[in-house]
Structures are given as C-alpha cells and as structure tokens.
Symmetry: C2
Subunit: 406 residues, 2 copies
Amino acid sequence: MTETNMGITIEQSGAFVETFTIEPKRPGILDGLSFAVKDLIDLAGYKTGCGNPHWRDTHPIAVANAVSVDQLLNAGARCAGKTVTDELAFSLNGENFFYGAPLNPRAPDRVTGGSSCGSASSVACGLVDFALGTDTGGSVRVPASNCGIFGMRPSYGVISVAGVNPLGPTFDTVGCFARDMDVLSRVGAVLLACEVPATVNVGTIHLLEDAFALCDPDEREALTSVVEPVRTAFPGTIKEMSLSDLGQAGASTELRKWYTTYSRVQWAEIWSCLGSWIEDTKPEFGPRTAVSFDHVRSFDRGEAIGAIRVREAYFRLLKRFLGPHDLICMPTAPSVAPLKGSLGIDRTLGDYYPRTLSLTAIAGIGRLPQITLPLADVNGVPIGLSLLAAQGMDAFLLAAAGMVVS
Amino acid sequence: MTETNMGITIEQSGAFVETFTIEPKRPGILDGLSFAVKDLIDLAGYKTGCGNPHWRDTHPIAVANAVSVDQLLNAGARCAGKTVTDELAFSLNGENFFYGAPLNPRAPDRVTGGSSCGSASSVACGLVDFALGTDTGGSVRVPASNCGIFGMRPSYGVISVAGVNPLGPTFDTVGCFARDMDVLSRVGAVLLACEVPATVNVGTIHLLEDAFALCDPDEREALTSVVEPVRTAFPGTIKEMSLSDLGQAGASTELRKWYTTYSRVQWAEIWSCLGSWIEDTKPEFGPRTAVSFDHVRSFDRGEAIGAIRVREAYFRLLKRFLGPHDLICMPTAPSVAPLKGSLGIDRTLGDYYPRTLSLTAIAGIGRLPQITLPLADVNGVPIGLSLLAAQGMDAFLLAAAGMVVS
C-alpha cells in the first residue's frame, strides 16, 4: 500500500489496525482498485478484533473471508488492511479507547464518526480506493457524511453478512465507502450481484421536511441549497412531505419515534448477540462502551416487544408509500462531525444520538437502501445529503445517485 | 409439562434435550399455549447446545432469550423445554449422533427429518401446542411434512434471528410448527408482529408442474389429489406452470439449478460462520456431520461468487413473476420421510438432498414465506402440500392457508 498524493501517511491517518496485501483471486470490474476492511469483518488468516483487545484475545483466527470480501477479491480488487472500528460496532463516535480516533482529513479537530471510522478515514485520506464497513444504525452513513465521502447502506438482507460479527441482526448490513460514485457503483454492483444502469427514470422524490427541520440551522441551510443538483437531475419530480404526515389515527410517526423504536429493538438484539460473551468474560471496555452496554444490560426487554410491532407497522407504511421508482431525499445527519472529545460518555444524555438516529433509523426500519452524497459543507466541514429508494431498488438508487453528481 | 391424550411420554418422544417451565411474562393471544424451543435458539439461563456436546461445552450460558422467544413469552405462551436439533442445524435427517432421533409418531420407523427434529416431534407427539424451529434450507418445512403437522418458514428477515446460532445468514429464518392452522396463525401473528385477516382474495395460484414431477410416483399422486381443497377454497385461480419456464435466453431455471445455487451460497456462508470454531476446537462430530463439514471445508469458495449472481437473478425473476396476492402451490418434499438409518453418510451421494433441496431452495432463494399443510399421505405416512406467497406477504399467506383447511 502506498500513500496517495494527498500526502497523508498510514500512520498519520490512524485508520488501520494492520496493513498487508491480499491479492485479487480473479480479474474483474474492480481491477486495479484497493480496499480496506472494517475489523468486524473476517479476513482469512487474521483475527477479527471488533475494536476490543479482549474480544480479539478470546476468539480464534478467522479461517475464511467474509463472503462480501470474497466477492471483492473475485472481482479484481486488492485488500490493503483492516481498519479501526468502534468497540463491537456499538457507537457513532469514531473514538476508540484502545485504538484511537482515525483522522478526519477534512476536519482534523473533529471525529470521523463511527462505527466504521477507520474505513471512512482510509478512503477520505486517499489511502485506498474504497472500503467495507457495516451499518446497523448509521455506521457507514454517518462517518461518510462527516468525512465528505460517498457511503452506501444496502437494502437489508441482500449483501451477505456471513463472517461479520452481529450487533442487531434485523438491522445489520455490509456497506461501502468511496470518493466517487463511479467506484461506489462498481463496488455496489459486485456486492449486490446486479447491473447498474447508466440512467433511470425517477418517479417522485419525496423531500422530507421534518428531517431537514431537525438539522442545526447552518446545516439545514447548507443542505437545502444542495437539493438543487437533485432537482436538476430529475426536473419536476420533487414533492415536499414529512414522515410525521404518514401517521394514521392515534399512531404518531414523528421522527423521534423512529429513534425510540429503532433503539428498543436494537438493544434487545444486541444483548441477545453479545450479552453472553460480555457476562462470561467480563472484558475491559472503554468508558463510553461500558456505559452503553450497561444500558443494554439493564434494558427492560419487554419494551422491545411493542417496538417490534411499531417497527413492522412503519415498515409497511413506507412500503405502501414509496413507489418502486421513487426516492426519498433527506439530510444524512442533523449536524456536521462533532469536535473530538465533545461527545459525552453516555449516549442517552444530550441530543446527538437521539437526533442522529432519528434520521438514520428510517432506512433501518424500512429495510431501505441509502446513499449519502458529499455535497454540502458548513464552513468547510462536510455534511452529506442522502437519497433512499424502495427495498431492493439498490441498482436503481446507485444509478440515480450517479446522475445527481455527474 | 404433562402428556397429552396421545399417550406418548416425553421420554418416548426423544424430542427434548431438557424440560422445564418458563412462565409467560404477560398475558396475550397465546394464553394457555405451551411451546418448545429448538436447542439452537437461546433461552436465558441455559446453555444453547446446538446439538453438539462440544459446542455446548465451549460456549457460555445464554444471558438473554432470543428475541423471538421473548415475543412468545410476552404474548401469554409458556415454554416447556429445549428440543433436539441436528448438529449445528446442518442436516435434514433428524438423527443426532449424540442425542438420538426424536420420534415421528405417524411413522415410528421413519425419521422426523431435521434439523428442527425435536421441535417437530414435540408438536407431532402432542407434548406442546407449538414449537420454534429454524429453517435455512428446509429445517422446519421438511420435518413438518414428514411428521404430518403444519410448519411455516417466514419471509426472510422479518422474524428476528438475534439469539439464534447462525448457519447461512442470507437464508436463516426462525419458523414454527403447530397441529392446526389456528395456533400457527396466532403464533405467526405474534412473531411477525402483524394482524392475520380472516379471509383474503387470492390472485393466481401457480401450480408448479416441475415440482410435482420431481416427486416419487405415489407421493405425486397423493399430493395431486389434495390440490382439490386449494381449488375449492379459491375457485378458478389455479394455473399450471413450471419454474423452468421462467428462464430467459441461455439462463436455465430448471429445479436442479435452484439446488446447486442454494448449496454453493450456503456452503460459503457456513464456513464463514462456523469454520473458525471448528478449526480452532476440533470438536467431535457424528459421522454424517463430520462428512458434511469436510465438504464445506474443501469447497472452492470462488464457486459461491457466481452462485450469488444466479441467486439474485432468480430472486428478481420470482419478484417480477409473483404478484402480491398470488400463491405458489407445490409439494413440500419429493418423498415421505426416509426410513431411519436409510440415509447414507454423505449428503452429496444419492438423490435425497439434491431432490429435496431443489424444492426447499425456492423459498430460500426467493426470500418467500412458505407454509406446509399436512394434507396428504402415502399408505398413512404423511407428506405436506405447500403454499408460498410473495416476500412480506406472510399474513396474507397465513390467512390463505387457513381458508384451505377450514
């Protein structure tokens, strides 16, 4: 792996746990491209550390690549290393107590965001052409927005999660980062096993007013001004609406409820996936991670039952509402990347998590694909505008996103 | 747990690894019903053995119920115990080297089928009202067909798999068994978090001729004769077709190809999920399981890459073909339950696995829900007729199945 002309070294980036080269197995449409892999995703012959030394020490070496990694290596791409992740992927911060905070080259005093922090940094710093991350509640989309790069969360269940450590299985996805739509589109075509058309006809683009209203004022202004390229790419198709308007008698669909619904289901799933290991091995966690898992441990799982019903009701609502050639356009996050060290130790205090997850939960609950486009900034600090499509319309979404930025 | 009036004891059934009572947490629509849980699905305070003593000994006690179990306990149901599974769920046999072959009360000289063998047996023997299983490649549907009970595989990704040991994550589902459609429907409503209507209007019922043609002659005759109740429930809607007719120029969709496609993707996923534990701990397996994992270990993972492309192409084909109110009607399996001990040690020899998986792979690849109805028998040995619906149309399918048997 060599440095790119951005002049940032691997060491300066802090993005990698380990660098090495895994050569492609076959030539393909990713010939000549290098990629990095979040250290939550198996690479054969290496330990998957999941951002925590104790996890690393209590698990064997992976004997197989994750299926998604095999797809990339069989399409011509070369793997350049493993990247830092927030511990067990349960964070949007990008500041790992054990492995540090990877560099956000567009805003060095700010976090990259997480949990796919090293993957976002490795791409943003120009050290690889693209990177694999995972996205349960925003872990690809938020760091892509923060670092000013492209990021995709696919439709739920299309890209294999075999060989990826689970966090919340009904939301877990493998996503990817790139610096341009052409690379993102080619990587998406490989992982989704589909063809991406050059152009598509778009039905209605639903501009989510309540999502824009949730943003900080400068961010809202910056993002509103970059809706123009979307309007230009697909003239006459934009319609303003609010998710809260979809609610039926007595059943609120205000954005905050998407966050609480998502979190309750996710917390129950997290404890089912990770609780036994945590209670059995009593690992050392960084302070923030420890507090997060304390919340999950003491969570009343009965609350998840009603949340699953709301989740499926919202899912069906979105399914009925969003036509196969429609798009949703909304901010990826309500604010630019926080300053390093500014996020408190407890995710349930302050409004960073509730506000951010209110937006990212939409694709999670709806099982929808989402692409964040690095179109906006506030005083040079990036923030992403997102497009979402109906479940399974990933190739259509990649094509539409390509038309916006071309 | 008490015996039912079938007069079969818990010991005679061989269905359980362990019996106990977990009381419901709240009343609900499952009040008064008891259920059993496949020993691949976590129950808080118990070890999940996954059908292999070495797995049991190398994993901690589960600290949380699987999310699906919590859903049932919060709807009034009472858990009565853990049931035998084929080792790590990788088998359709129902003969566990360590824990024995649970009783198929309708055909005691024959297997229940697997991998959810104990769950199927516990319901068929009348020891519980319903049971949870998992279905990756047929592990609910095949034993339900073999034992003459109802079984459901849900749409992929709707019922949470948190707390369930993974096998092939792009196919893994949590399914359920019951002796009547009313119970299956209520359990389905709880797990799917949906309302099941009393009646539905059905579009076209596609009767899969090539699937019927795959059956043994007696089975074909028995299953063909019980299409009549489907025809009566939904008059004028049946249309004969073959999946092989869906193929486009140069791309075969003959049933055998659904099997090879499924198996290649599944094998790559299995090794990503279980290979590291197997190579690290070198567990003792039963002879059949050992041979199966030897195949998976030596499988050329490059073959999975093309298979993923075929899988997604078939998925899209089914999605375009199957309308939201359509059904597919086909045999659940090509033959009745095999005699105990008659299945060889190597799943790739003989035609039992290739033929059976050619049918069960359809729902797996299509991410479709499927219900097997115990309508037919050959000289008293049961075999199931299946209905499938479009992805996400689980409540519709439950209602339609109820109309067929009412």
